[in-house]
């Protein structure tokens, strides 16, 4: 999805769309949004692989798992009720956790391969993730073909002007 930032109406719609999916206009865990540029690619991949979104009750289990087994941790939610339950869980003491650790765990971080799409989470196998990464990198290579450079020569002249005027 590409947004023209000068189109206020389109931008507002876009932000409302994004924020409506997350509690109180902010992410509950991590960054629960889909890659902007690759959304189409993500959708195509999910359809091609017949992936099924993780059910809501599973998300809670995954989050609780963050405190019992950090190797398989995290959950992203977009539902207020679930969110409040998760925050209650998050208040439980974490062994040897400083505030930064706690913050990371609260912020989720699902340790297995997954994709976000339209507010849902799709679990992938390692093979599926590697296949997706190759597609994503290929998409990126095409973008990177068009790279510009700001010249140091021009910048030096500009900096001299600034120094003179200041």
């Amino acid at each position: 999805m590409s947004i023209n930032i000068n189109d206020l109406e389109a931008l507002t719609d876009y932000l409302n769309y994004k924020f409506a999916k997350i509690a109180n206009g902010r992410p509950v865990g991590g960054i629960p949004k889909d890659p902007i540029i690759s959304e189409k690619t993500v959708k195509e991949f999910i359809l091609k692989k017949n992936l099924v979104a993780i059910p809501l009750d599973k998300k809670i289990q995954y989050f609780q798992g963050a405190f019992d087994a950090p190797a398989d941790t995290g959950a992203i939610v977009n539902n207020t009720d679930v969110r409040s339950k998760l925050l209650t869980v998050a208040e439980k003491p974490v062994a040897a956790a400083d505030s930064l650790t706690k913050q990371i765990l609260i912020c989720g971080g699902i340790k297995y391969p997954h994709l976000h799409c339209e507010g849902e989470i799709y679990k992938l196998t390692n093979d599926q993730w590697n296949q997706f990464a190759i597609i994503a990198l290929e998409e990126l290579r095409n973008k990177f073909a068009k790279v510009n450079t700001i010249s140091f020569d021009n910048f030096v002249k500009f900096a001299e002007v600034v120094e003179e005027e200041v």
């Binding site: 960054i31 890659p35 925050l87 930064l100 989720g108 699902i110 990126l140």
Partner: protein, 392 residues
């Protein structure tokens, strides 16, 4: 464009309804005189009266109970540890305070630390961050005490002690045109101390030249090799330059609210209550340059604040294939290097081009090694380090 013309050089296309990040200058005094510091030193401290106004402002502007990051900064904030304790009380006693939403942090030069400070931060869920530029020969050159003495020994001792309390202690290293080539040694030094959470930041006011730009790819490439090796050894480290950009690459670019929100979602408060769009723009805190109001006087920015960079306005940037992956939107970096919030410097362009390329190649290599980076898509690569910590 000159430095004087920067006021309305960016558009205010998106003013968030609530703030998410506030930095409090509890003091503008410091016991160090770092070569590149962008904060002018003076004997000025934030009173509790000013702090109360700032706290009220923060919660008032955050009515929807959203996440709020509150940072204690300076000068050296721990010079005023007693005052910080009082301000934390003000924050926690505020009727709108919500422990699960507020994240407090202290950014210190690492010369002041003891058990009382550690216990206070632990019991109040405060994130502790230390600045250290690397091994003794670098740290003692760039970060000296007022009397010219190097700070390396004191800071090293603090890092070692602090890691006992904060296993994921973030350490921030600044590199300049003179120390760029030593970045790999800096990472080795910090890793050997036990640091797992390494932030590397370029000195944006350094005299960067073409010759340095040509070194970026090589130096960042060496860092990337180390990064991969850490993964292969089963002990991944968070290295901000690499991890941050991998996340952005895998997620398809920066999202709007990930970008600079200076003056709309982010504020810095000087000791007298002056409001600035970013802590890196406080300077001497004269209430003029970059100042957008005063929280005590209640003259805060409403419509005057148009400082919301969303992207660079350089022609080269708007047509660049890297633009969505590049930090060309960082208003304070642009300001310090070009005098304008939305004009990107040649240094920034060269730096970003190099790190984006290196991160891209790193993803490719790690894919070949079968190392899974899917968690980076979520934007929380730190969880790697957390997992490593959980095993140790």
């Amino acid at each position: 464009m000159t430095i004087k013309e920067n006021k309305s050089s960016t558009s205010s296309f998106f003013i968030p309804k609530q703030i998410t990040k506030c930095i409090l200058f509890v003091t503008q005094e410091c016991n160090l005189r770092c070569q590149y510091c962008y904060i002018e030193k003076k004997d000025a401290k934030m009173t509790l009266e000013v702090a109360q106004k700032v706290v009220d402002f923060m919660f008032q502007k955050n009515p929807n109970d959203g996440q709020l990051e509150i940072g204690f900064f300076g000068g050296e904030p721990l010079l005023e540890f007693e005052q910080i304790k009082q301000i934390v009380k003000l924050i926690k006693n505020h009727p709108l305070y919500n422990s699960s939403k507020v994240i407090m942090s202290i950014t210190s030069n690492g010369t002041i630390f003891n058990k009382e400070i550690a216990d206070f931060m632990l019991s109040n869920d405060i994130v502790f961050c230390i600045s250290c530029d690397g091994p003794q020969e670098i740290q003692n050159t760039t970060r000296k005490y007022k009397n010219g003495q190097g700070s390396a020994m004191a800071v090293e001792k603090t890092i070692q002690e602090a890691l006992q309390y904060f296993p994921l202690l973030p350490v921030n290293a600044v590199y300049s045109d003179k120390t760029l080539k030593y970045l790999p040694q800096t990472v080795d030094y910090l890793v050997n101390l036990g640091v797992k959470n390494i932030y590397l930041n370029p000195d944006i006011s350094a005299k960067w030249k073409q010759e340095h730009a040509e070194q970026f790819s090589e130096v960042y490439g060496v860092l990337a090799e180390k990064y991969i090796q850490f993964y292969l050894q089963g002990k991944p480290k968070f290295i901000s330059l690499i991890d941050g950009k991998i996340s952005i690459i895998l997620r398809g670019g920066y999202e709007l609210f990930e970008r600079c929100r200076m003056g709309s979602g982010e504020f810095a408060f000087g000791t007298t209550g002056n409001v600035y769009p970013c802590e890196r723009l406080v300077g001497f805190d004269d209430g003029k340059t970059n100042c957008i109001g005063n929280v005590v006087e209640g003259t805060i920015m409403p419509s005057s604040c148009k400082i919301v960079p969303s992207a660079a306005t350089n022609v080269e940037c708007t047509q660049c294939g890297f633009s969505e992956y590049c930090m060309n939107w960082c208003g304070c970096t642009n300001y310090h290097s070009t005098g304008s919030y939305d004009k990107v410097s040649a240094f920034m362009c060269a730096h970003e081009r190099a790190i984006i390329n290196v991160a891209y190649q790193t993803v490719q290599k790690m894919n070949e090694y079968g190392i899974n980076l899917s968690h980076h898509v979520q934007g929380t690569p730190l969880v790697n380090v957390a997992t490593d910590f959980s095993k140790s």
